[in-house]
């Protein structure tokens, strides 16, 4: 079975599913059909497992990206204000459904929450660069995730098609056998 030793992978090392070119050559006997069908099922399950994981990673990124974007928007706004020194008033979210007012004077630095109970002060320009980098990285990962999802789905489709064709081949074989048996039966009766 040369098909199963296909070493091709996508850009992140997910192996490509084998493809059955010619069903009749793929299996030598009826018994092999069953085991191959089972093998395809197993591979589908593996791909589906990867699919679930990739989907989860993508969902996390889709959550994260708007957050970064929002922060970047705010920092960009503050950056644009640098020159005008007049403070402005803001209503900010203190907690869910609770808003407070604050006077924001022109500022040179912002504090970014880095997670793990750490907050760091950055000059505005540096903060913007950092956030932009994070945003681009997150978008890139999401793109990769989506590419992987497409790839995984394609492999699953390929395997499903393999399964269907192998199964149909078995049905055809069975029918042929039955028809042959019937013909023999008839032949015997006619001979009497």
């Amino acid at each position: 079975m040369s098909a199963s030793t296909d070493p091709q992978t996508n850009s992140r090392g997910i192996p490509q599913a084998p493809f059955v070119d010619d069903v009749e050559k793929f299996v030598d006997s009826r018994e092999e059909i069953e085991t191959n069908l089972k093998k395809f099922q197993e591979m589908i399950a593996q791909y589906q497992f990867m699919e679930v994981n990739t989907e989860r990673r993508g969902a996390a990124l889709r959550d994260k990206i708007p957050d970064i974007q929002k922060t970047l928007d705010t920092v960009s706004f503050l950056k644009g204000r640098k020159s005008s020194s007049k403070p402005f008033e803001a209503t900010f979210e203190l907690n869910d459904t609770l808003y407070a007012r604050a006077n924001i004077p022109a500022t040179e630095e912002v504090y970014l929450w880095l997670g793990a109970n750490v907050m760091l002060s950055y000059p505005i320009d540096e903060a913007a660069t950092l956030l932009k980098g994070k945003l681009d990285a997150a978008k890139e990962s999401l793109r990769n995730c989506e590419e992987d999802m497409d790839f995984l789905r394609q492999q699953i489709t390929t395997l499903e098609v393999n399964t269907a064709r192998l199964y149909n081949y078995e049905v055809t074989l069975k029918r042929k056998e039955r028809e042959e048996a019937e013909r023999e039966e008839k032949g015997k009766k006619g001979g009497k």
Binding site: D22, K70, F88, E89, A90, F92, D150, T157, V161
Partner: protein, 133 residues
């Protein structure tokens, strides 16, 4: 989706060999098809956003020049003079407009590839394949 059983006659015509290349085309078609759905959703969302921004811009035409408008950036509302809010909205509108255009272009390109694949696949598989939704 309406499934139909293949009759015995149809079945005989299905015995066209599917090559790896054909399978790749089928996979590509299915991926694009699915992507079109996602893009359509995104387009709807963006168009809605654009509409909102336009509504707000029109609404603000009526506002008093000296009023401070709470403009939302991130999670906070910033109280800004009308003129500045209008500028921000204008920039925002342009941005969203660009995104909408990009999506429309992407969908058009996908559509072209899909119809190409459709022609190819139908001419080879005829009744044995169903690419309609």
């Amino acid at each position: 989706m309406n499934r139909r059983m293949l009759s015995r006659e149809d079945e005989s015509t299905t015995e066209v060999t599917v090559t790896r290349e054909d399978q790749d085309h089928i996979n590509k078609f299915s991926t694009l098809h699915q992507k079109q759905g996602l893009l359509k959703d995104e387009l709807e969302k963006k168009s809605q956003e654009k509409e909102y921004i336009e509504d707000v811009s029109n609404e603000l035409e009526l506002a008093d020049e000296d009023d401070l408008i709470p403009y939302k950036i991130g999670d906070s509302f910033l109280h800004l003079p009308l003129e500045e809010v209008m500028q921000l909205l204008e920039a925002n509108k342009e941005e969203v407009g660009k995104e909408v255009k990009e999506i429309v272009e992407k969908m058009g390109a996908n559509e072209r590839v899909m119809s190409g694949l459709k022609v190819e696949l139908y001419s080879k598989f005829g009744k044995a394949i169903n690419l309609e939704v």
